[in-house]
């Protein structure tokens, strides 16, 4: 809003100026650093995958900044969103895991980690962590959860319907619903990220897949489009 008013200055001459009204400056405590995470679980495995690009605005900060963090031998968490909050959140989770180990003399199970994360996040309900989290892991008996999947992060809206179709067999008829094997899941995750990198500018550079089986956690890195 522009209000122009004539003011008489000290020496009697007319001084005209434009008053633009109250101007609000906002400091935003958040930034969006991009990145996509994906988790799929089968009968006896779980996998958590993420791209490795860290961006801000139209620039790339790093081409090698994976978003999967290994918490225990049976659990991996994928965090994307605001990188500052991702780092702080994982630091807090790791500290809490240590505290649990020292007082209970055993590692936290995947389910317990998920429940704990929920309370940590709700504790900051009124100044949230800007992080999209997905936890993938095996339970105490080494079992995954059959045919479950979730996508999070910048390309999640593109990936989730594709996974609903390929893993959940949604919107299809007369299709044999075979249970998901590890090989098929890894192939699907690679293909799905190749597609996401085509259309989402925040996704690309490389894909890191953390595969969790009863043998432990194994990593695989696949290159993606760099443009």
């Amino acid at each position: 809003m522009m209000i122009s008013s004539r003011v008489f200055g000290d020496n009697g001459k007319v001084k005209e100026y434009h008053y633009t009204g109250p101007v609000e400056h906002k400091f935003s405590p958040y930034a969006f650093n991009g990145g996509t995470v994906l988790a799929v679980a089968g009968e006896d495995f779980a996998l958590v995958a993420s791209d490795t690009r860290l961006s801000e605005g139209y620039s790339i900060h790093s081409r090698d900044s994976p978003k999967c963090y290994k918490l225990t031998d049976t659990t991996v968490i994928g965090c994307s969103g605001f990188h500052g909050d991702c780092l702080t959140l994982t630091k807090i989770i790791e500290a809490r895991l240590k505290m649990y180990k020292h007082s209970n003399n055993k590692n936290m199970t995947s389910g317990a980690i998920a429940a704990m994360l929920s309370t940590i996040l709700y504790g900051k309900r009124f100044f949230p962590y800007y992080v999209y989290n997905i936890i993938g892991g095996l339970d105490e008996e080494g079992r995954g959860a059959r045919d479950t999947y979730k996508a999070g992060g910048s390309a999640s809206a593109m990936l989730q319907p594709l996974l609903d179709n390929q893993i959940g067999f949604k919107n299809m008829e007369n299709v044999e619903q075979v249970p998901l094997t590890l090989e098929k899941a890894v192939q699907l995750v690679k293909d799905v990220f190749i597609s996401a990198a085509e259309r989402d500018v925040y996704t690309g550079d490389a894909l890191k897949i953390c595969i969790i089986t009863k043998e432990g956690v194994r990593e695989e890195i696949v290159p993606l489009r760099k443009d």
Binding site: Y58, M172, E173, K184, Q187, S195, E198, V201, R225, D227
Partner: protein
């Protein structure tokens, strides 16, 4: 020579649609929607004068916010036989502005009886963009060869222009000029093409709004070479699985068959020439 063939609007600014747009925007936001955003090209474009002419370069990605809308669009537009223009900013603005210029330039050169000058194209463009006070969001690099030799101009959305031997525009303007500082106007064709290719490739890799291929347009006195997809620095990843659906996968909810009874009225045979 006074040119009366191109229409110049009388009066100053033409903001006929702003009130209508404001009303539409208010109506939409009442219902919780927002007006669609203009799609920007989020681009890297460059131009370079070398020994025999001028080279224009551009990437080929068009973005809709942060989703790739077109992986292989054409950002180097035709204006006249020896004058081409790269457009950055709002995709529709760059496209329509250059098309209007192209038709104006043809009429003007028919009226003068001479081939068009790059300076004339620049002047018409900047006068139009200034008239719209930056509301037309297109940044353009105009390059071509005319009787005065090879020339290169950049025009900004508010109507200012620069005449330089090398130019870069788009979302990552600050990282490219260092590339071009090493240019001399006595370079030969291959070195100059390589330099423009390198500059656009830097934009493709370092800018999220640019990507896919490098398009080049080499304009000399004798020829114009539009090199579409001159370089493809990024390859699409190969998918391992097949995602084809067998017939019968899509659910059919209802089916209605309406037989049409037809009578044969006339029958004739026409031999097709298949050679």
């Amino acid at each position: 020579m006074l040119n009366t063939s191109t229409k110049t609007p009388t009066g100053g600014f033409s903001f006929e649609n702003t009130r209508r747009n404001a009303v539409l925007e208010a109506n939409l936001s009442e219902k919780g929607y927002s007006a669609p955003n203009a799609r920007k090209t989020g681009t890297t474009i460059a131009g370079l004068i070398f020994k025999d002419g001028v080279i224009l370069g551009a990437d080929t990605r068009a973005t809709d916010d942060m989703v790739v809308a077109d992986k292989n669009c054409m950002k180097i537009h035709y204006i006249a036989p020896k004058i081409y223009c790269c457009g950055a900013g709002v995709a529709a603005d760059a496209e329509v502005t250059t098309q209007m210029m192209s038709s104006n330039v043809e009429l003007h050169s028919l009226s003068t009886g001479r081939p068009p000058l790059v300076a004339m194209v620049t002047r018409q463009l900047k006068q139009m963009l200034f008239r719209y006070q930056g509301q037309i969001g297109s940044s353009l690099i105009v390059g071509g060869v005319d009787v005065n030799g090879p020339q290169l101009y950049s025009i900004y959305p508010h109507g200012s222009y620069d005449k330089l031997p090398f130019l870069t525009m788009g979302t990552v303007t600050f990282s490219l000029p260092p590339f071009f500082e090493q240019t001399q106007s006595e370079q030969n064709l291959e070195e100059a093409k390589q330099l423009v290719r390198d500059a656009i490739t830097a934009g493709i890799f370092c800018d999220l709004g640019s990507g896919s291929n490098v398009d080049l347009c080499v304009i000399t006195e004798k020829t114009v070479d539009y090199l579409r997809a001159y370089d493809q620095p990024v390859q699409k990843g190969l998918r391992e699985g097949t995602y084809r659906y067998k017939p019968g996968t899509t659910a059919v909810l209802t089916k209605t068959v309406t037989p049409l009874t037809l009578d044969v009225v006339d029958e004739s045979v026409q031999v097709m020439d298949t050679e």
